[in-house]
Symmetry: C2
Subunit: 342 residues, 2 copies
């Protein structure tokens, strides 16, 4: 065994915003400890750098939202076995591999001063450890032994990669439409949320209509989550809480607030967006100016309104399930995803 | 359908060295066309950059040695179905994904003037398209439907990633031992050769001892192949043929010729290797000097001798199989791998 990382010793919830995730976390706490055990187990390797680097990103990986979804859905569906634990770990490994690969930078990015996890070890170790974790997810799902599950994970991985490439292509492109943006976040984020939830229903052997409902819950929750995440990157509230903001702006990543502001603004404003986000020429005051423009056009407000829409669809996707503590928790996750912006 | 790439229209074999691969290529020609069809089919995506970039690397991918092994082994084992075709494509996708990720560079590499495929599109697209191809391999193997096959591919992928990380750790480290070098090339190269051959036996449902023989044939062939490849990077013969040499030296990649020369040389020579390969401080004449030192210590000669040893073991691994055209071809591949150095 390489690095010892204590996952159980969670940082105390500092933000009141996290409150709405509490119920679900408490409901699956025992399962989640098992997930963390599987993660620790499967990230081991005789090549010491692998658990070291993997542990760094997995430990800092936050709330374990995706595996919690798998666990909670399986419980809501009355599942009492153990398959959901390894599949939840599998989902987290795929997520972590994506994070590592998402952090890979090109020389051009260095100019814009991006500092990510891979700044510590460099691009190549991040890529290779990502590959390793992805392979581990593959191994875990083979151990589970269901071809249906394997097919879903394989398809999900392909769509994730497509989404990441699409995001790259819309990067620095102020012409990006709302539809294109939506396609990107659906592929790169929501698909994994959808799989996380669908797998919970599959292990419980629920009928097709329920499985579809769970998948749609995850898909729409994922879209809402990413919409809010992208809005938060321009949020003064986030800055107050000491979180980093402005990353998307500095990287020229075109998210919905920018899509809306660019299209609603006049030619002078569009010139501003082109200079800062397409050509990457930014001065110190530009981020502040960007926030003023977003405010002027209600771009953050409307991004959150869009998120609320997907949250509503997610909520209705669960309507066919009878009330229970887990269902209540899953509904509260929708609020958690949306309310953290306020 | 995106890019149209003609795989069938092969470049004429320019080198006499390629001759010993001819028999096997001819024997599996029809199957190989099918493999290329599957590859073309599965590398498609609505995201146009994906088939474009993937096609670039797959088309330039050379001899299709690994998928040819799967096809030929399956035929040698009397298999008459079609599973070997999609598994051969699967192996080629994994190989291609590895190539793309292997080309990822860090800022530090730029100094040394490495120019790779990803120089055209940048690190990030290479990583993401690699992920996509890896996911496609995953999808293909799920379609095949055998958990045993899936398990082998998942384990192989994990070991490949470990091998790549190990290689990174031995990079620039002149203390690297022959044993450590061997461990690296076994993991990063030979494991995939082994899987390629083993899968051919599995689809033909051969007994365990034959499956093991095939795996060992692939493993030892792969080690021999990489040993020769690493020797060729210092070969004047290669330079005569217009191939690029000296890449490993410039990148500080520690291969067996350097391991042997470093250990056999005196302190002054070791200082040379440390300066050039550890600290990466190289002048124009240094590569020539390196070749002189390798020559002095018989490092290339002995690297090829080691390769011959593994070639012999590969040959004996096939001894339990009755003679047939495919077996003859597989034995000739060993010669092909070793003789291309002369």
């Amino acid at each position: 065994m390489g690095e010892i990382i204590q996952f159980d010793k969670e940082a105390p919830a500092a933000l009141a915003d996290d409150a709405t995730l509490d119920r679900l976390q408490a409901l699956v706490a025992e399962d989640l400890r098992e997930v963390n055990r599987v993660i620790l187990d499967y990230m081991q390797s005789d090549v010491a750098l692998i658990p070291k680097l993997a542990g760094h990103i997995i430990a800092s990986g936050g709330k374990r939202l995706r595996p919690i979804l798998t666990l909670a859905v399986a419980r809501m569906c009355g599942y009492s076995g153990a398959r959901h634990v390894s599949l939840a770990a599998c989902i987290e490994f795929i997520h972590t591999a994506t994070l590592l690969h998402d952090d890979v930078i090109d020389e051009s990015d260095l100019r814009r001063g991006k500092a990510t996890a891979n700044a510590v070890w460099g691009n190549k170790p991040s890529v290779l450890v990502g590959d390793f974790l992805f392979s581990r997810a593959f191994q875990l799902s083979v151990t589970d032994g269901s071809l249906k599950v394997l097919g879903i994970l394989a398809n999900t991985s392909a769509v994730l990669a497509e989404g990441e490439v699409m995001q790259l292509l819309t990067s620095n492109d102020t012409d990006t439409s709302e539809a294109a943006y939506l396609e990107v976040i659906t592929a790169k984020t929501a698909t994994l949320f959808a799989a996380a939830c669908q797998l919970g229903g599959i292990v419980a052997e629920r009928p097709a209509n329920e499985e579809e409902g769970l998948k749609n819950y995850g898909l729409n929750l994922g879209i809402a989550y990413q919409l809010v995440d992208d809005a938060l990157d321009y949020s003064a509230r986030e800055a107050e809480l000491g979180k980093s903001i402005g990353d998307d702006f500095r990287e020229g990543k075109i998210t919905l607030p920018v899509v809306l502001s660019f299209r609603r603004g006049g030619e002078e404003e569009r010139e501003f967006w082109r200079r800062t986000m397409e050509e990457g020429e930014q001065t110190e005051d530009d981020f502040e100016r960007a926030v003023v423009l977003l405010e002027r056009h209600g771009a953050i407000r409307d991004s959150l309104e869009r998120a609320r829409h997907y949250g509503d669809v997610a909520r209705d996707s669960l309507a066919i399930f009878p009330d229970c503590a887990e269902k209540q928790g899953l509904l509260e996750v929708i609020d958690f995803c949306i309310r953290r912006a306020h």
